[in-house]
Every structure is written in C-alpha cells, then in structure tokens.
C-alpha cells in the first residue's frame, strides 16, 4: 500500500490534467487553474520541511561544536532573523530592503561572477584536440568567443558575421533536433508514470 496509493493518486492527477486541459467543457469549469492553486499551496507547505532540515543539520553542528560550527550558527541566525523581519515588515520593508540591496544582491552577483573564472580554467583544462569531434568543438568555440566580442571584427572584418552564421544555422538546427528529442523523451517519462511503469519517485532503486 505504501507505493500503490501514491501511484494511484499520481495516475488520477495525470488524467485530471489531460481532461482539464484538452476537453473544452471541463476547461470552461476552470478546474485546471484550481488544481494549479492546490499545487502551489501544497508546495508552500514543503518549505517547512526545508527549514526543519537546515535547522537539524546546522543545529547539530552547533550543538556538537563540529568544525566550522560558527558558520552554521550564522546561517541559523540569518535564516530565522530575516524570516522574522520580513514577517514583521514584509519583504519590501526598509530594513528588509536594505539587507536585500546591500547583502543579498552583492553576494549573489559575486557567486555568479565566479563563473567567469571557472569558465576560463575549464576552457584551459577541457579544450584539447584529442579527437576530430573535440577539435571541431574547440575551433567553433574560439570562432564564437572572438566573434561575439568586438575584438573579432577588429582583427578580421567579417569574423562576427561568421559567428552569427554558426549560431543561426548549424546551432539552430542542432538545437531544434535536441529539443524535439528532449521534449519527446520527457513526454515518454510522463506516459510511463501515467501507465504506472515509472515508480522511482516513490522511493527505492527500482
């Protein structure tokens, strides 16, 4: 029963979405929108789980004075502190806004900026002419990198046009193929769930 009940619920929910989306008479009742709202409410309840998980993991770190426990303490103070603050003055309150603009925005941008450094070292590590395919990948990446920056056209006029052509023609064709395949694959997974063949999300390795 542990797996059967959730499986039956999943199949019923899947059929509900199909009926509510495709059949005009049911669509007019607006069940799809109501179903979506239920989903949002259930989803919101799960946030409590996240808070509980963080509290347990980092609470244990602090309690047992594990290495770097101070960071766990800071995390707990920030999480509960910001939560209480925004409950009191909403997310657009003056202090909440100040924290957002002066702490969250710069920290987020900083971590995003790491990407520039990591891409640089990854290019150094990964782009090797090991095989014919790897050579094509490397040459294409250099053409695009230089062509999408003004330096490409400055060195060789028309470099940017070549980069645009690569993006517009070979890239778009390949992307379409991959996207069609990926959407179909995704749909096949949905059908497997609907037919009760895919059960991994209910737990276990099989």
């Amino acid at each position: 029963m542990r797996k059967e009940v959730p499986m039956v619920l999943t199949v019923l929910a899947g059929l509900f979405v199909i009926v509510a989306k495709y059949l005009h008479a049911v669509d007019q009742l607006g069940w799809f929108t109501v179903g979506n709202r239920w989903f949002q409410i259930v989803y919101a309840m799960f946030f409590l789980l996240g808070v509980v998980s963080l509290t347990i993991v980092h609470g244990k770190n602090v309690q047992r004075r594990r290495s770097k426990w101070v960071y766990s303490l800071i995390l707990l103070i920030c999480m509960y502190g910001y939560g209480i603050l925004t409950l009191e003055q909403t997310v657009d309150g003056p202090e909440a806004n100040w924290i957002y603009n002066n702490i969250i925005v710069p920290s987020d941008s900083t971590v995003f900026a790491l990407l520039a450094f990591f891409i640089t070292s990854a290019a150094y590590r990964a782009f090797r002419i090991r095989t014919r395919e790897a050579t094509v990948l490397m040459i294409t990446s250099v053409i695009l990198m230089m062509g999408t920056a003004p330096i490409g056209d400055t060195i060789i006029p028309g470099w940017g046009t070549l980069a645009h052509w690569l993006m517009d023609v070979p890239n778009s064709s390949a992307m379409r193929g991959i996207q069609i395949g990926a959407y179909l694959g995704g749909f096949a997974v949905a059908l497997r769930i609907l037919f009760g063949l895919e059960r991994a999300h209910l737990g276990g390795a099989s």
Partner: protein, 276 residues
C-alpha cells in the same frame, strides 16, 4: 464558486469540433498517437515479442566505475540534480538514477552526499535513498544528514555546494539530470578541482556544451530519459523508449511535409490543424 472558477467562467470560448479546448485539438491528436504507439510497444514487450534494444550509453555504464573509484579512494560521491523541480520531466528522469547510485553506494559502503535546492525534491530524494539502502540490505548505513537541503536561492546553493566539494573532496560527482542553469559550469570545474570523476547528463540545451566539454562522461538530450529503461533492462520500460522513436519518425515526416507545403503552397492546412 471558488476563486478562479468565477474568473474563468466569464471567458467563453468556442470548442473545436464541439469537444476540444481552442488551440489544443492538434496537440491532443498528437498526444493520442504518441500514447497509442507507446502502449502498443509495451503490449508487445509484455507478450514477449521482440522489440529493439537501447544502444549502449557509456555515461550510464560509467556510474558504477565512478562509484567504484570513490570506494577505492575512501572518498564520498556527490550527486546534484542542478535546480530540480517536481514539474520538470528532467527531474523525474533523475530519480531512478539517484536510486541506482544510492544502491551502488550502499553495496560498496561508500558515502553518498546529495545536495538539493528544492524542498519537495529534498523530501523525495531522502525517501529514494533511504529505500535504496533498505533494498541493499544496509538500512543502518543511511545517514539522513547526507541528504542536504541547502537553499532554493540559486547562487546561495552554488556557494553551499562549493563548500561541500572543497571540504569533502568527493572522488565522483554525478550531475544528473536537471534542469541545470549557470551553476552547472561552476559545479563541473569545482568537481574537477576536487579531483572527482564526473558523469553528467541533462536536456537543458544551454548547458549541454559545458557538460560535453567539462565532464568525463556526458549524456545529452533525450538520452537522460532512457536512463531508467537502460538501467532496469526491463523490456516493458524499454518499449516506451522504442515507441518514442517511432513517433519521432512521424514528426520528421510532418516536418518535411510542413516545410514543402510552407514553401510551395499559399496556405498550410497542416499548420492550421496543429494550432486548431
């Protein structure tokens, strides 16, 4: 009348063929054909009739090699799904692979760290890993603290994973299956810095080049959706993948016919039907 119903009830639109929602008739027919093809293949597989096999996917074969390496080195395995969502098919495709990895880790007595930026997925993953340990006969080895919800904020999650990769130095990192965004490249390079063998797979097209260039083994696009069939070797599930391939031929035919009509005719009845 609940909120939402009253709003939508004001919007009267005409039904296509008296049955379907406007704009959905073509899609419904396509979905129905696809479902029938998949059902036929499943029935053939159930009856023991021959169906095509899935080609070799080196990336999936490499998972056991990666877990084995972690076992030899006495270091953990890190599993990330990127920024998963229960409404994304890529995430659903990742669950069987997580279960497979967890079972391997349980059998090899290797620690598995799973970091999660989504609360719903966190609950599901914990259950999947717990069950996998149970099926492997080692329920006591399951440590719930190794399934970690970090935050649902993308770059805060990235920071958390970077700390875990630097501190725990996993010998293997599995990035499967997404959706992945800007965090993918950071994880791949940080994994390389930690000395981990990396197996990645995603259908997030913007991140595919990074997976191909940065991971030791990469699964691209629809390969990820064949993972559960490939790993389970179950003919019935394989039937769904074969059905999908047959449907692809129909799509190719529709593309060719549509292109010819659009090029040489003044009106395109195929396009009109699909958007009816």
């Amino acid at each position: 009348m609940p909120f939402g119903l009253s709003l939508l009830a004001q919007e009267e639109s005409k039904a296509v063929w008296g049955i379907f929602t406007a704009g959905q008739a073509g899609a419904f027919v396509a979905v129905a054909i696809f479902a029938i093809l998949v059902y036929v293949m499943i029935t053939r597989a159930r009856a023991g009739q021959s169906i095509r096999e899935i080609h070799k996917i080196p990336g999936l074969d490499a998972i056991s090699e990666a877990v084995g390496r972690a076992t030899e080195m006495g270091r953990p395995v890190h599993y990330t799904m990127g920024l998963p969502s229960i409404t994304d098919p890529q995430t659903i495709a990742a669950f069987p692979v997580l279960g497979y990895v967890a079972k391997l880790c349980a059998q090899y007595e290797t620690r598995l760290i799973n970091t999660v930026p989504d609360v719903v997925i966190y609950a599901i993953n914990e259950e999947i890993i717990r069950q996998a340990y149970l099926e492997a006969g080692r329920p006591d080895a399951f440590n719930p603290d190794d399934v970690r919800f970090i935050t649902d904020w993308q770059f805060a999650y990235v920071a958390g994973v970077l700390e875990i990769l630097a501190a725990e130095k996993p010998a293997a990192q599995i990035l499967f299956a997404g959706p992945f965004y800007a965090e993918a490249m950071i994880f791949i390079e940080a994994g390389a810095l930690a000395g981990a063998i990396q197996v990645g797979g995603t259908a997030s097209t913007a991140q595919l080049p990074f997976f191909v260039a940065g991971c030791d083994y990469a699964l691209i696009g629809e390969e990820i959706y064949a993972a559960s069939a490939y790993l389970s070797k179950e003919p019935i599930i394989t039937g769904t993948v074969v059905g999908e391939d047959y449907f692809k031929f129909l799509i190719f035919a529709a593309i060719i016919v549509g292109t010819l009509i659009a090029t040489f005719a003044t009106s395109n009845p195929l396009a009109t039907f699909m958007t009816s």
